[in-house]
């Protein structure tokens, strides 16, 4: 294969029944292991799903000024974070437009691990001039597994031979699994109870074996990106290059978004010194963002009727979609915005979408129309603005 495989490939490769792979940051990872992603999806919500998330970009930022650098780059307050904490954060250009989003793990006093969806090494260096800081790209040397679902804690506790009930949401701890040193963070991309396990790439295969074997009696199921995509929409979690464009890739101004327009206002710190985009974000905060990122629920009866009009039972996308779909007002003429991801929630039995709507029309409960193509014709289905996330179980934080 001319694309790269991850350190888990000796295990994930043979599991793939249909050779369905998806590209991610130059690597291939499974779209689904089984011929359909159904069971992999349900494992996330019912037992535990095991994802290979190694392709994430990972940077180790160390040194006296490590926190200062990160605080200059991202919108969350890194200096205030304690050792063992994990921050989800976006980062912006000077105009307050979002470049990327990822996590910052506080591994030690002056040691941070940053993950990102796009390569970020140059950006970190550009912001580090004059600072006493070391930036290492550990993307290839660090492998990562994500174990997500209601039984994930039991499985990891057994594998790590320790109690994890005190490990809170967005906290991390170091541990050993069958003698392999790992970092376990209570994080993930599913909106469920779940953990990510970070390991030296050389130890990836034995780690996979340890977790897979321990999890077998609990219904652990290797799962691919198709299942993850459904879960992350249910959780209302953004995907770069799908739900928003990095301002560094945007060709025109209107392709850019600010964190305030993406529902990430809560990540924009007001209690720290100057950082990239701060002034622009403060001004935008004052006047209010022009756009809102919100959920939509498609009205079933309306969708069913559109299909009944042509003599068909309703059809639903078999996978989550990631195309731009126009959203109109209830009259069906004036465009209010666009949806960027959508799909059927097998758990909630709902057709859901993530959408950008003009702020005046983004109030939950607002009735809108979403374009759907029924038998080659563009039609409009009734939909309602729904607050995100669609699914938020107690166990996620509990």
């Amino acid at each position: 294969m001319s694309l790269r495989t991850t350190p888990f490939h000796p295990r994930t490769g043979p599991l793939s029944e249909g050779q369905a792979w998806r590209r991610w940051a130059g690597y291939v990872v499974a779209s689904s292991y089984e011929l359909s992603h159904d069971r992999e999806y349900h494992a996330i919500r019912n037992s535990a799903a095991l994802f290979d998330v190694s392709p994430l970009y990972k940077y180790l930022v160390t040194g006296r000024d490590a926190a200062r650098l990160l605080d200059h780059v991202v919108t969350r307050n890194v200096g205030k974070a304690k050792v063992g904490q994990v921050l989800y954060t976006p980062w912006c250009d000077n105009e307050g437009k979002q470049i990327d989003d990822g996590t910052i793990s506080v591994l030690g006093d002056q040691t941070y691990r940053m993950t990102s969806a796009d390569p970020t090494l140059r950006w970190l260096h550009l912001n580090a001039s004059g600072l006493d800081v070391k930036i290492q790209d550990v993307s290839e040397s660090t492998a990562a597994l994500s174990l997500q679902g209601p039984r994930s804690r039991e499985i990891l506790q057994l594998a790590a031979e320790r109690d994890l009930s005190s490990l809170k949401y967005f906290r991390l701890t170091s541990a050993k699994i069958r003698g392999i040193p790992v970092t376990i963070s209570r994080t993930g991309y599913t909106g469920d109870l779940g953990y990510e396990v970070w390991v030296d790439a050389a130890q990836a295969v034995p780690l996979w074996d340890a977790i897979a074997e321990t999890g077998a009696p609990y219904g652990i199921t290797p799962a691919g990106m198709l299942a993850l995509d459904v879960a992350r929409i249910e959780a209302g979690l953004l995907l770069i290059a799908v739900d928003y464009f990095s301002s560094r890739h945007a060709l025109i101004e209107s392709q850019k978004s600010s964190p305030l327009e993406l529902g990430l206002g809560w990540t924009v710190a007001t209690d720290k010194e100057r950082y990239n985009g701060q002034a622009a974000l403060a001004a935008e905060g004052k006047r209010g963002p022009a756009w809102q990122f919100t959920g939509l629920t498609v009205d079933w009866d309306s969708l069913e009727q559109l299909y009944a009009d042509v003599g068909l039972p309703p059809r639903l996308p078999s996978q989550a979609w990631r195309t731009s779909v126009p959203i109109y007002d209830r009259g069906g003429h004036k465009q209010l915005g666009y949806a960027t991801s959508g799909g059927w929630s097998p758990l909630l039995k709902r057709y859901m979408a993530l959408a950008h709507l003009g702020s005046a029309h983004a109030e939950p409960g607002t009735e809108v129309r979403m374009e759907v193509t029924v038998e080659h014709r563009r039609r409009q289905a009734k939909a309602h603005v729904t607050a995100l996330p669609f699914f938020n179980p107690e166990r996620k934080r509990g």
């Binding site: 349900h42 039991e154 609990y218 039972p313 639903l316 097998p346 039995k349």
Partner: protein, 525 residues
């Protein structure tokens, strides 16, 4: 004492659906359940420590999507997990498998018969049209074909138009489905015996008929109905077993303000001058209510809860003739490990779907022969699932539960059911499985055997019929449960019926519960 707008007798899934819809419409509602828990025949119980048994019903196939939506059941804990494959072990050591993937299933069928592999798609298409033709009936209150009332005429007209619109070819197929045996109907399509046997099995579930008995083809269709809502995926295995479905509906009902009282059996409906005024509990307490709804089966609704003087004598006669004839039993097992089937050794995806013990049409028909003459089948038809393979929470880690639906076990067994007969029945089941999976018996940690008499004793379903009355053509639509009384009302004003004994019948469908509630609400306006 609190005066309720409505009292629902029986906390099975249909009673709960009725209660939820009435409460949602603003009525004050009380559900009275005789057992310590809600669910009726849709219950999950920890019979052996750590092992959760889906005591009676075990899969969800027909739960109406509109009910899931209207009551927002996912928010109340409903999670339906996929259960997609069926493997039929054959007596020669081969098997027939239907997998979730269409190509895989076709290739598997091709192995048995290239012609059948092709016919399979066409058959599926026909059944799709047939299910589409019948589906509107599920959602309508049956019109009385002998009545000239405007509502009935409108309903009949709608129905007539609907069937005229089908076109000749599909109308003919529908008439065949209504009249033929499932074996004969399938003979028109397929040549592979084990395929016909496995398909026909769904035509006999809950009936006292064999695959070669006329009328069973329709039941084939009844079970196909869930496929129509394929995209909605309302079929599968409920996380936590079917009891979790009942719990979700109960939770929804409570969220709308309904009260649910368990350990509260009802002995009589109070009637004053032809009108229901409340109920009398088994402990003698009287509870007044303007509306009383019974979700019990027709025999108990009309003949037990009411005094005969409140009913026209022909209705009493009709209900007495209504056939129950429970024919199925259930064996629930706690297992130390999963059985390895000779035809597909080891543990694998076959354990995540159904195992159908229906190796040939003769096998299934012979199983019926035993029952015809008052014996349980020595080698019965079985539908097996391993709930713990779909929802690992059903058993301790690494251990398993096995749910075996068994037919035939006649309610009227020669000499009657005794503890010894029950165990002999359990032995027949276990020995038959053992013949397809040697070594299986040694994996059993605990065994629960349920006969039709047990079903009757525990759930109250007369003669242990799982559909609250046989799902036979002469007992469906405007004839369910009796001519003239298929519209959820009764001769007693304010007393209504719902449940599987009313249209459109059994399975964890909830449709009768919903239709009854709509009827009651419409009456109240």
């Amino acid at each position: 004492m609190k005066q309720y707008d409505a009292i629902v007798i029986g906390g099975g899934h249909n009673g709960l659906v009725t209660a939820a819809y009435l409460a949602r419409a603003g009525k004050s509602v009380l559900v009275l359940e005789r057992r310590p828990r809600v669910g009726g025949a849709a219950v999950t119980e920890e019979i052996f420590p750590g092992f959760k048994f889906t005591m009676f019903s075990y899969v969800v196939s027909l739960l109406r999507p509109e009910i899931i939506r209207d009551l927002d059941l996912p928010r109340h804990g409903l999670h339906i997990l996929p259960l997609e494959s069926t493997v039929t072990p054959m007596e020669n050591g081969d098997y027939l498998a239907g997998w979730a993937d269409h190509d895989e299933t076709r290739r598997e069928l091709y192995r048995h018969s290239p012609r059948d592999a092709e016919a399979y798609d066409e058959y599926g298409r026909l059944m799709h049209f047939m299910a589409q033709a019948v589906k509107p009936i599920l959602g309508m209150v049956p019109p009385d074909p002998t009545s000239f009332a405007p509502g009935d005429l409108a309903g009949l007209l709608k129905l007539g138009k609907h069937f005229r619109g089908l076109g000749a070819e599909r109308l003919h197929a529908l008439v065949k489905l209504m009249t033929m045996s499932s074996a004969d109907f399938l003979d028109e399509w397929f040549e592979t015996d084990v395929l016909k046997a496995t398909k026909s099995a769904s035509g006999i579930i809950g009936t006292f008929l064999g695959p070669r008995s006329p009328g069973t083809a329709y039941v084939l269709l009844h079970h196909y109905m869930g496929e129509l809502d394929g995209v909605f995926r309302a079929w599968g295995f409920a996380k936590g077993g079917t009891g979790a479905v009942s719990e979700a509906i109960a939770s929804a009902a409570r969220s709308f303000g309904a009260e649910i009282r368990c350990d509260a059996g009802v002995s009589k409906v109070l009637v004053r001058t032809g009108r229901a005024t409340g109920v009398v509990l088994e402990n003698g307490d009287e509870l007044p209510a303007g509306i009383v709804v019974s979700s019990l089966d027709p025999r108990r609704t009309f003949l037990q809860l009411l005094e005969p003087e409140h009913l026209p004598s022909h209705l009493v006669a009709d209900i007495k003739r209504f056939k129950f004839r429970g024919s199925s039993g259930k064996v629930n097992l706690a297992l130390d490990a999963l059985p390895s089937f000779t035809c597909m050794p080891g543990v694998g995806r076959q354990h995540r779907g159904a195992i159908s013990i229906s190796p040939s049409l003769d096998y299934v028909e012979r199983a019926y022969d035993d029952a015809k003459y008052g014996e349980f089948s020595r080698r019965p038809y079985m539908d097996i699932v391993f709930p713990s393979m779909i929802d690992p929470g059903m058993a301790p880690p690494g251990k398993h539960v096995m749910s075996i639906f068994v037919q035939y076990a006649p309610y009227n067994l020669n000499g009657g059911w005794t503890d010894a007969k029950r165990e002999a029945f359990g032995d027949a089941v276990v020995n038959t499985v053992e013949s397809f999976a040697p070594g299986f018996k040694s994996q059993i940690l605990h065994r629960q055997v349920i006969t039709p008499l047990d079903i009757e004793r525990i759930t109250g379903l007369s003669e242990g019929n799982i559909f609250a009355g046989e799902l036979a053509l002469h007992q469906l639509f405007f004839l369910r449960p009796a001519p003239g009384w298929a519209k959820f009302a009764t001769p007693v004003r304010g007393f209504f019926q719902c449940g599987s004994g009313t249209h459109p019948g059994g399975g964890i469908m909830g449709a009768s519960g919903r239709l009854a509630a709509m009827r009651i609400l419409k009456d109240g306006k």
